[in-house]
Amino acid sequence: MTHHELLRTPLYDCHVEEHGRIVPFAGFEMPVQYVGVMEEHRAIRTAVGLFDVSHMGEIDVTGRRALEFIQHVTCNDASKLTPGRAQYSGLMTRRGTFVDDLLVHKIGDHHYFLVVNAANKDKDYAYLLAQTEQFDNVDVVDRSADYAQIAVQGPKAEAVLQRLTGTPLAEIKYYRFVEGKVDDEPAIIARTGYTGEDGFEVYLDPVAAPGLWRKLLEVGKPEGIMPCGLGCRDTLRFEACMPLYGNDIDDTTTPFEAGLGWIVKLDKGGFLGRDVLARQQAEGWKRKLMGFAMTGRGIARHGYPIWHGGKQVGLVTSGSHAPTLNRALGMGYVPVELAAVGTQIEIEIRGQMVAAEIVDTPFYRRAK
C-alpha cells in the first residue's frame, strides 16, 4: 500500500450527504454502499441507479497517426470504429497479456478517447507515453482530472436521463455515444456500462457533476432511483461475468484465456503481443476462465484454491453470493480440459473442501 493522501471525486460531498459508507479504493475515497449492497443491486436490475465512476481514467489520443497508434497498443480493431462508436478492448503487453482493459471511443478521425481502470490509470498513461516514441504526430494526454463520470444504469435509465437532456437517447444504440448536453452542461453521453443492464455513462465537467447527480436523484424519484456504491457495482458486473482487472484478468492472462477472444483481431495487422496471441490461436491455450456454482455450502472468494481429482488445479478470481440469482457463484482459471460445463470441482474454503460445478457463463443475461 502506498501512503499517498486519498483523492476525492467531485461527488464526494454528495456521497456524504447520502450517508454513503466511504472506503479507500484505487487511491480515492469512494462509497462502497449507501443503504446496502442487495438493495442497490436490485435497484439496478429492476429500475435505475447512479454510480459515481469519476475515479476512472480518461486519456485522449490525438494526431494524424492516432488510429495507427491505437491499433498498435490494443488488440481489438479500432479501424472498425466510426465517430460516435465505442469499443471494448485490451491494452496489450508484448506477451499478449493485459496492461488493462479499456473502452476506446472514436471522437473523430484523429481523436480517440480512452476510458481506463482507476487503479491502472497512471500505469496505462506511462505505458502509452512510452509507446508514442515510435510515433510522430501522436499526442497522449491524461484528461482524468477534466472529467467526472456518472453511470446511470438499469432498465429505467433511459427514461430518467431523458428528462434532463434534449438528445434523443432512444437513438443511441449500445456502445455508441453522442456529444450533447445534460442538465444544460456539455457532456459525452455513452450507452455503455459495467452492470449487465441497459444504461448510460455520462462524462462531464467536474464542476457540473454534483448538480447533475442531485438532479438525477430528484427526477428519478418516481422510478425509485438510488445512489449505488462500488459494492453492488462489483456484484452486478460479476453476475454478468464482466472481468475485473486485478481479479479475473491481469498482465499474466491473455484475452483468449479470459474468454475474451472476441476482442482479438489478428487480421488487423501488427500489434503488441500479436505473435503470442497468434500462436495461442493456432496451438490453443492451457487454461481458461470458467464460471462455477457452489453445490456445497459456502462462498468462494478471490484467491481460494480450486481442486479436482485430489490436485489443486487453479485459483478463484472472483466469488460472491449473486444477489439476482440467489446463489453462491465464482470464476477462476482451470486447465482447458477441466473447463467443460458440468465438471465437478472443489473449492478450498478455509481449509475445507466444498463441492462446486462448472456452469455456463455469463451467470446473468438481461432479457432483450
Partner: protein
Amino acid sequence: MTQPADRMYSRTHEWALLAGDVVTVGITQFAQEQLGDVVFVELPAVGAAVAPGKAAGNIESVKAVSEVFSPVAGEVIEVNTALEGHPELINKEPFGEGWLMRVRVVAGAAAGLMDAAAYETFLAEEGH
C-alpha cells in the same frame, strides 16, 4: 444507538445474554451494520468448545467474510438453525431472532465483558 441493557458485550461486538449457566450469543447492531447484507452463516457444531479470542464460525456478507467469536468460554449446546435459510435475520434482528448460538458456561464466564453503558462508551471512543 441503544444497546439492550439485559446483556453483556465484547470488544469484538458480540453480545452475551446470561440465563443460569446458559449464554445466548449474537452480534450487535453495530456489527451487523458494518458487515452489510449477511448471506451465509457458518456456526460451530453442537458440542464444540468455544472460547473468547478463538474463531467459532464465520459470517459471510455479500462482499466479505468475517470471523465470529464467542464472548464466553464453554460448550455449544444449540445453534440457530433458522439462519441456514434466513441469514438476513442477523441484519433484521441482531439482538433477537438473529442470535447465533447457546453456550453452556462455567461460573464467572462473563468476566471481562461490558454492560450496555460501557459498550456504548466503547463504541463512542472507537469513533462510531
